[in-house]
């Protein structure tokens, strides 16, 4: 009887659900450096992507789901929530805003370094990375896949 009532309650509650969002918590730590510009300053833009997003015929590489801005190159320790219903894998992209214009290599602006890393064996809750910004003016599409 209790099982029946539980099933009915679950059905009633389940019948009410509209958006059913599943998130996977990941702690990303390590460092992001720009070897060619060891003394460079500026905001570091970090963007987290699913390695592959979408389903079926509309599936495509890279799907951004979160982003953060750090003070500059150096140690990284971020906790992110990865939506698991749409896509697979984890890719981390970063670029350094040397001229402070908020745009990567805007015309007339500075040449800015960027880099990307794909996390192996994802999903896992703890991810250690060592990301080097070794490509100038490269967007994530140019670096992956």
């Amino acid at each position: 009887m209790r099982r029946v009532l539980s099933a009915l309650a679950a059905l009633a509650i389940g019948g009410c659900v509209n958006q059913d969002l599943h998130l996977y918590e990941v702690r990303v730590h390590g460092s992001i450096t720009a070897p060619s510009l060891p003394d460079a300053e500026g905001e570091l833009h970090v963007v987290f992507h699913r390695a592959r997003a979408g389903e079926g015929a509309t599936s495509h590489p890279l799907g951004p789901f979160d982003a953060s801005v750090l003070d500059g190159p150096g140690p990284l320790d971020e906790t992110i929530l990865v939506p698991t219903d749409d896509g697979e894998g984890l890719v981390i992209y970063a670029w350094l805003d040397l001229d402070g214009d908020g745009a990567l290599c805007a015309p007339g602006g500075a040449v800015e370094p960027a880099g990307l890393i794909e996390v192996d064996k994802f999903p896992r809750h703890d991810v250690a990375i060592d990301l080097e910004l070794g490509s100038n003016c490269a967007g994530p599409e140019a670096l992956y896949p």
Binding site: G15, C16, V17, N18, Q19, D20, L21, H22, L23, Y24, E25, R27, T79, L81, T84, H125, D126
Partner: protein
């Protein structure tokens, strides 16, 4: 040709040349006992028509037999005045003298039927006491079905099903009440409680409440009406986090508001059958989208005594 046709329709709607229907028998059976019937003292010789003026049958016959009784919030005093006014109009009713609570003189029995034809009841959303009615409507994008029952004192419970493009369904139960009843003008309000099911890419589901206000006029054969609705749906979302320290689940609520307006006209095909044509304007999920494309519907309503 078109003008001639329009003139014929206009004449018919206005009731000119309308064929009086002998409905005394069935109406007597409908209204004789109880609340609705308390005001019905039926004359088997009286004739009446499908006129739309609410208590038109009493107006068009000769006498008020029991002015104190009301079946759906109608005013007994207005019945009196209408009855006396209609004396000069009605040539078919047998001459008689008013007598409160009793029968008319000269061997003829007075008829006072405090009921409205189905067209007027459908337009107002409130049925007269001991009367029921059902209605179906189809169109684009809205379809619907409705059943209502007259409880008396201006109250009518109802079952209502609203469908949009067969992707959005809202079954509901409701209760309507007549707020204002001034002869040919009736204003009513209704509360509906239901559940919204929407399928497809924009799937949603949740409890729904709707408030409706109807304004209807009673002409001879037609009842133009305006219905305004405010529909709110509570939508629940669930978020499950597979965290480092374990799995957690959280619920959140959001609302969807849909505004609604229908401008239409009910036409009495007979006393118990009405045809409905209306223009629908809805603003589904108003907070997140543009108003929906206006639509139109055609409906049929029929009813009878309980």
């Amino acid at each position: 040709m078109i003008l001639a046709g329009a003139a014929v329709v206009a004449t018919w709607l206005a009731g000119v040349g309308a064929v009086d229907l002998e409905v005394a028998g069935s109406l007597a059976a409908a209204e004789a006992p109880g609340e609705g019937g308390a005001c019905a003292t039926m004359s088997t010789t009286s004739t009446t028509s499908t006129a739309m003026d609410g208590d038109a049958t009493s107006s068009r016959t000769s006498q008020a037999s029991n002015p104190a009784s009301t079946s759906d919030g109608e005013d007994a005093n207005s019945s009196k005045s209408k009855s006396s006014k209609s004396k000069s109009k009605s040539s078919k009713s047998p001459p008689s003298e008013p007598r409160a609570g009793g029968r008319a003189g000269d061997g003829a029995q007075a008829i006072v039927l405090r009921i409205a034809p189905v067209a007027y009841q459908a337009a107002t959303g409130v049925s007269s006491a001991r009367r029921w009615q059902v209605g179906l409507q189809g169109g684009f994008p809205w379809w619907g079905a409705r059943a209502q029952l007259g409880l008396g004192h201006g109250f009518s419970p109802s079952l209502d099903l609203q469908i949009a493009r067969f992707r959005r369904f809202r079954p509901a139960v409701g209760i309507a009440h007549t707020w204002v009843d001034h002869g040919r003008l009736r204003i009513s309000g209704e509360v509906l409680l239901g559940w919204l099911f929407q399928i497809g890419d924009l799937a949603r589901r949740g409890p729904n409440v709707e408030l409706r206000v109807r304004v209807a006029l009673a002409l001879r054969r037609a009842s133009p009406y305006l219905m305004l609705g405010s529909q709110s749906t509570l939508l629940a979302d669930r978020t499950t986090i597979d965290g480092i320290a374990g799995t957690s689940r959280a619920w959140s609520l959001r609302g969807e508001w849909t505004g609604w307006a229908t401008l239409g006209v009910m036409v009495a095909a007979t006393y118990d059958v009405a045809l409905d044509f209306g223009l629908d304007a809805a603003w589904v999920d108003a907070a997140s989208g543009a108003p929906a494309i206006p639509g139109a519907h055609f409906g049929v309503h029929f009813g009878g005594p309980r």
